[in-house]
Chain length 191, copies 2
DNA sequence: CCTACCGATCGGTAGG
DNA sequence: CCTACCGATCGGTAGG
């Protein structure tokens, strides 16, 4: 399961550039230059520019899935699952900012076949959240709000993190999840 | 203030393509083709590709600002302002989906100077929300949650709408705002 | 990994 | 608005 250092290094470099300038806005020559080689030499390691995009996006998808799966499957109560699920999501976004942004932002540039692969993983991830929320409503812990829009609300705030999060002086993923979940669970007005 | 039909039509066409394939992923030839002319002829109407991007993004910024400003300045109570502010935001996103997506997604492709112009309008819009929320806390209507993270939560869910909203069979902007604000105001669990 | 290069396409212009 | 074209750059390849 470990990947050769040089390959991962290449994905990191490409991820950083894609996240900063977009997939189409980044040239193969810029990636090569950041790696310290000439553009033609990249093709010893990859077979196309889209190859780089796919691996970055697919790693991102796997990171989200493998972070949430154990929480959904666990025996925690619904409130803990909600809090820990959002914290896990935010942790993926904040610790792999470039890959997460490319995953959320540029994955649509993939060709038909690979687009479908990622679409499936995105659907699977959404389904995990749907299961988590359905459990919460079924157990009577969640008593207000519509499951669909609650899921959209949670994923929106989790995803948008990549747009504003600065690595320094910010709350931890757990701290952010607490802030957001406190609002979502208890509301903000006096009843 | 009215803009010539042909110019607005060009912005609409470019907005649709930018929103679908990204700014860098869209060529000047595709825009011209969608307009039914050859690429060179575009330059009677614009002076550069970035020109198109700027006008689309700037129109988007103005749409958000002019939708929220009257609500913040009005005499409604804090709860109404929150609900109507989110509804206004979602209305801009859903009725000008392409422009909104380009505004939120591709504005960073602008050159330094124009990037700064848009950054300022984005800051101004965030400040409007900050004022709205500060009022809510000052008046005692809002009693829980942190103003900064409440603002991020609201803007996240409002912005992310462009990622999932389908024009058919969906709730109205007001309906969506009600769903989200119901959760945010009252929470989802039994106290 | 480099040298050297490919055909295609890019944003944009001159002249009518 | 078209014809005709520009120099630059694109992703990618052959041969060493």
């Amino acid at each position: 399961m470990t990947r050769s250092t040089s390959k991962q290094e290449l994905y990191d470099i490409a991820g950083k550039l894609f996240s900063k300038k977009g997939y189409h806005g980044t040239t193969i020559r810029e990636i090569a230059e950041a790696r310290g080689i000439l553009s033609g030499s990249l093709y010893t390691h990859i077979s196309s520019k889209e190859d780089l995009l796919f691996h970055i996006v697919d790693d991102g998808a796997e990171a989200f899935l493998s972070a949430l799966e154990p929480i959904v499957m666990s025996q925690q109560d619904a409130k803990s699952k909600l809090r820990n699920g959002l914290a896990a999501h935010i942790r993926v976004v904040t610790t792999q900012m470039d890959a997460a942004k490319v995953f959320l932002h540029d994955w649509t540039a993939l060709g038909e076949e690979r687009h479908a692969v990622i679409q499936q993983k995105r659907d699977k991830y959404e389904d995990l959240w749907a299961v988590l929320l359905a459990e919460g409503y079924a157990s009577g812990t969640l008593i207000r709000g519509d499951a669909k829009y609650l899921r959209i609300l949670i994923l929106s705030v989790g995803n948008w993190v990549y747009e504003w999060y600065k690595t320094s002086g910010e709350l931890t993923p757990e701290g952010l999840a607490d802030q957001f979940m406190d609002i979502i669970l208890h509301g903000v007005i006096a009843e």
